[in-house]
């Protein structure tokens, strides 16, 4: 990785970001959107870590005989970001499960259609399958 033209890492990161973005905006299934979002997140992590690398550096742990270390600050930021990412993905998955129970489907088109049908009805709210409180 280190002996390639210097900007290749960033372009690949942009490609991965756009792949994740494409999944989020164009695919209909909610779970797949969450997977695309996590692909997007991971590509941002690659971007940050690439910026922190020093050529010829060593991992930022104090070792005998090493003078050049890679920058520890992006590592700290990304460590935080990874764990926060999994926490938000878990919340997203819980939301998808509840949406499935309320609407009966996790496809975006079905949910949109059910919402539109509910809006045009003159009578009461559209929640049909309210799951029992735990």
């Amino acid at each position: 990785m280190s002996d390639l033209p210097g900007l290749y890492n960033y372009w690949v990161t942009v490609f991965l970001m756009m792949a994740g973005f494409y999944v989020v905006i164009s695919q209909g299934n909610l779970v797949k959107k969450l997977v695309g979002l996590s692909v997007f997140q991971t590509s941002v992590f690659i971007f940050y870590i690439s910026m922190g690398k020093v050529a010829g550096g060593h991992a930022p742990i104090l070792t005998e005989g090493v003078t050049v270390y890679s920058n520890p600050l992006p590592h700290v930021l990304i460590l935080t970001a990874i764990v926060v990412g999994v926490a938000t993905t878990a919340v997203g998955l819980a939301l998808v499960v509840r949406i499935r129970e309320a609407y009966g489907s996790v496809e975006e088109d079905d949910i949109q259609a059910l919402d539109n049908a509910a809006d045009t009805e003159p009578d009461g709210p559209a929640d049909s399958a309210e799951s029992p409180r735990p």
Binding site: V54, L73, V97
Partner: protein
């Protein structure tokens, strides 16, 4: 190379419609990213990405797929407009990267100002070889406190949305696929090793790669493995959900307690030199307590989220 593999996996995630395959591909993607991080000298980050991205996220997504369905419907609208949006955004971003410093440039702006101070003063002021842990727990301790709180809040959110349900599948002694002799024996041998390794990572985070987050996730993985093989009833006897709620709060309280103790002694919030007569000793002690708090919270919240998702009764 690794980056080419990552690009092909991303393309496959877009094209494949079997969501089980998509989840597996995303775990492989996380693993390759972890290898890439190792190549870019980020050992702590690679560790966390492998444990969290490849392990925990995969299990949680599979538990969700059980409830929502495996196949994706063919998209109803064409790909032209999203492709145009994506191409314009990508072109703008690539134009933005043309000014970026080359990979590995030691004269880049990000390597100046703060980073040399952390690299040189970190082992001296905080007294531990692992600079990432020194920065995470001591120099940027406030951020880590916020992050622990975010994990705790996410756990609360999942518990509010789903709750940990009792049902027919959570009776002790029942497993999902019947008698499994080989799995039981091997898992009984492997789980103590996993727990031991989690403890090693927790307390060795000062000297090598490791720390609270990775250790919490590894600990939770051992319990998830037990749950998968021995059934949910037995797993809930071993790690009761009510205890998980308390442990999640306990970890955050430990972290905040260290900070408040510093306030009571008269120093600023989360100033570890208040914990002992010798500042470096105080830093060691403070980092140990803080990482313990983080590890406990991460372990209990990950396990609680897994219980919530996997124990959910299937809607008809």
């Amino acid at each position: 190379m690794l980056l080419a593999f990552l690009m092909s996996i991303a393309l496959a995630v877009i094209r494949v419609r079997d969501l089980f395959v998509v989840v597996m591909l995303s775990s492989v993607y996380s693993f390759m990213t972890a290898t890439l991080f190792m190549d870019l000298d980020a050992v702590d980050v690679a560790f966390t990405e492998a444990a969290v991205g490849a392990g925990v996220t995969g299990v949680l997504m599979l538990s969700t797929l059980r409830l929502t369905g495996r196949w994706e419907r063919r998209p109803s609208h064409g790909p032209l407009l999203p492709l145009i949006v994506v191409s314009i955004t990508g072109a703008a971003l690539i134009y933005g990267t043309l000014d970026a410093p080359l990979l590995g440039d030691p004269m880049a702006p990000v390597q100046q100002h703060v980073a040399p101070r952390y690299i040189e003063q970190g082992p001296v002021e905080v007294g531990m070889p692992n600079m990432v842990t020194a920065v995470l727990a001591s120099y940027r301790g406030f951020d880590t406190f916020g992050e622990t709180f975010v994990i705790f809040t996410a756990g609360i959110a999942v518990l509010l949305l789903l709750g940990i349900q009792e049902g027919p599948q959570t009776k002790p002694g029942r497993t999902a696929i019947g008698d499994q002799l080989v799995l039981r024996v091997v898992v009984k041998m492997v789980i103590p090793l996993i727990l031991l390794y989690g403890l090693y990572v927790q307390f060795h985070g000062d000297f090598g790669a490791g720390g609270g987050f990775q250790a919490g996730v590894i600990f939770a993985t051992a319990f998830v493995l037990y749950d998968l093989v021995f059934g949910e009833g037995d797993a809930r006897l071993v790690a009761p959900p009510s205890w998980l709620h308390r442990l999640g709060a306990l970890g955050v309280l430990i972290y905040g307690g260290v900070g408040l103790y510093s306030l009571f002694v008269g120093k600023p919030f989360l100033d570890y030199s208040a914990l002992s007569h010798d500042p470096v000793h105080g830093q060691h002690f403070g980092v140990l307590l803080v990482e313990l708090g983080v590890g406990i919270t991460v372990f209990s919240i990950v396990l609680a989220i897994f219980y919530a998702l996997s124990g959910r009764n299937k809607a008809t």
